[in-house]
């Protein structure tokens, strides 16, 4: 006998109703036109220009990093092109006191938060000096374990709340990261404590090769916020103005004591997962690539700023030259850093070196002095 239909509550309909609510927020369309005036964050001309500079600079940094990696002059590198709006416009809504817990692709936000470029290069090369954080620089080294940063962000945010600071913890992962247990535990803990956190899922469509639709039956990742009882928002991750606006609003709610927000930025990485042998042609077609390239954040923002008379080729070239020079100088500085020794590493395992480590430290120091 078929179960009698429940007249008062239809779970299927309810799910559909919730999913329909998660429309993608867009302010600036692919043509560089404002399509959502009410949500335009109304950045000043200086701010608009600064954000454009950062995006151009970071695109150059990405191109140079890829070629430096190919020359064997950089190590681990996860390309960022295509994600500039998602990364830099969200960062643009932050303050110096805000604490960033990045994934491994989130080097650009760290650099714009104050991580010196030569240290980012040392990190890429696997040198411990890269991760030595200056006092007052509120960042962690890029996280390698997918999702681990989400639970830590809940902790940093709870700490900020207890210290009564007007600051937030912001953390980033990808669409694959939203399948991890730590993703759910992180948003749930922060929600339960109403901690000032911003959780960003940069949905770049592929977790290495696994497509987004294999990660979850959920229509959007943003709707996962509902399960934790916190606000979630889906945003065009290639639209710098929309990403800025939703992050700014999330930050405002957080510092007012209204708790965390989950943001899904819909975006694309043009390059491979990392430079360690990933071949995107195994899992994406060039048709898909070119569809996404039409949405490019730099192209649309450039059009928008040019129409406003805020941007031109000369300005663009200035930024490109500056980026190239600074990258060159930073590589030189990284090259000049003394090679790390085993004794450097043994010496930073504990505050007080235990006997077993001390014995090994002595052995390596003797070897190294020969």
């Amino acid at each position: 006998m078929a179960a009698k239909k429940n007249q008062q509550f239809d779970p299927v309909e309810t799910l559909q109703a919730i999913e329909e609510k998660f429309e993608m927020v867009q302010v600036l369309n692919e043509e560089g036109e404002i399509v959502n005036k009410e949500y335009d964050p109304n950045l000043s001309d200086e701010q608009l220009e600064e954000l454009m500079k950062r995006m151009v600079y970071t695109r150059i940094l990405d191109q140079r990093s890829i070629s430096l990696n190919r020359q064997g002059r950089l190590g681990f590198y996860a390309p960022t092109a295509g994600q500039e709006a998602s990364q830099l416009a969200s960062h643009f809504a932050l303050e110096k006191d805000d604490f960033i817990l990045p994934g491994y692709r989130d080097v650009p936000q760290l650099i714009w938060h104050g991580w010196p470029l030569h240290q980012a290069f040392l990190f890429s090369r696997g040198h411990f000096k890269g991760n030595q954080m200056a006092e007052g620089l509120n960042i962690l080294p890029p996280q390698i374990i997918i999702g681990a940063q989400f639970i830590q962000a809940a902790g940093v945010a709870l700490g900020l709340q207890k210290r009564k600071k007007e600051a937030v913890a912001i953390t980033y992962t990808g669409d694959g990261g939203s399948s991890q247990g730590d993703f759910y535990e992180g948003i749930n803990f922060a929600g339960a404590f109403r901690a000032p956190a911003i959780f960003i899922v940069q949905n770049n469509q592929y977790a290495i090769s696994t497509p987004r639709e294999l990660q979850t039956s959920a229509k959007t990742i943003a709707q996962k916020a509902v399960s934790a009882g916190i606000p979630g928002v889906l945003v065009d991750g290639m639209d710098p103005l929309a990403v800025y606006a939703v992050t700014r609003d999330a930050r405002e709610r957080a510092v007012k004591g209204e708790g965390p927000t989950l943001i899904e930025t819909m975006c694309y990485r043009y390059g491979p997962h990392t430079m360690a042998g990933d071949d995107p042609t195994r899992y994406r077609t060039s048709d898909i690539d070119s569809e996404w390239e039409k949405k490019d954040p730099l192209v649309r923002f450039r059009k928008y700023l040019e129409a406003k008379g805020l941007w031109n080729e000369e300005k663009e070239n200035e930024v490109i030259e500056k980026a190239k020079e600074e990258i060159k100088a930073a590589i030189k500085e990284a090259d000049g850093t003394p090679k790390q020794k085993v004794s450097d590493l043994l010496g930073i395992m504990y505050e007080e070196v235990p006997f077993n480590v001390q014995e090994q430290l002595d052995i390596y120091k003797a070897k190294e002095s020969k």
Binding site: F150, Q152, D182, F355
Partner: protein, 325 residues
Amino acid sequence: MAQMTMIQAITDALKTEMKNDENVLVFGEDVGNNGGVFRATEGLQKEFGEDRVFDTPLAESGIGGLAIGLALQGYRPVPEIQFFGFVFEVMDSISGQMARMRYRSGGTLTSPVTIRSPFGGGVHTPEMHADSLEGLMASQPGLKVVIPSTPYDAKGLLISAIRDNDPVIFLEHMKLYRSFRQEVPEEEYTIPLGKADVKREGTDLSIITYGAMVQESMKAAEELEKDGHSVEVIDLRTVQPLDIEAIIASVEKTNRAIVVQEAQKQAGIAANVVAEINDRAILSLEAPVLRVTAPDSVFPFSQAEQVWLPNAKDIVETAKKVLTF
């Protein structure tokens, strides 16, 4: 001085450090209003407020991440993992994250977290509550692993653990929580981490042990004494790092040793102690160093606990093999 059980001494240590340092936070599952399932945090929320003593959602990995994040904001977190058998849920936070925070940041960031957790057999818990997993913890560089065997030691060691600027796994044997009382000073005192305690001096054999096996070893030593053997018992108290000086000094005096642990035989602390003795004092030995351990199965269902756990009789038997070698 007051007579205290180990659980009372632990509560007393937490109170002492919460009074001393406002950055000390206590949190976990049911630790607030309920005072913990073993009452280790009894009365703390009332005394120090919900801001410093609080319940978390039921998720061990989240508790670990929370501790790391709070430490990054200058707090000194003392989370409780309700039973150490649940530690697998929080292994990344412990081994992947806290243990490497100092190293990964080139020495600029730390995780001064003390994870307290009940463990150990003989109290008929459901399965996956009682495992001795200290060997797993001790194999992770960056951690310290502490296991008190008495109320007095529990207080002094826990205060040291909380003050330590590196992550400490503080394991509390469930059978010892209320098994006996001891004089425990009401004032604060510390016992240094990494220092063993000679529980009983002797000249014929060293029994090197820790946790609940200290009591079994003491019983065994008394038994052996009746047969005219003078037995030294060393309580390691910290299993990572080991007090290598105390171990070697004892072995060089007695020339014979056994290592006793409640955990299974494979890998683990006892194997490590044997290897250290082998490295440093093999020429002092008159006999092989043998181990008394649980067998290499997973921790048994509760009906089999009493026949599975090592006891004083097993220790006497193995000691005799070494004494008559």
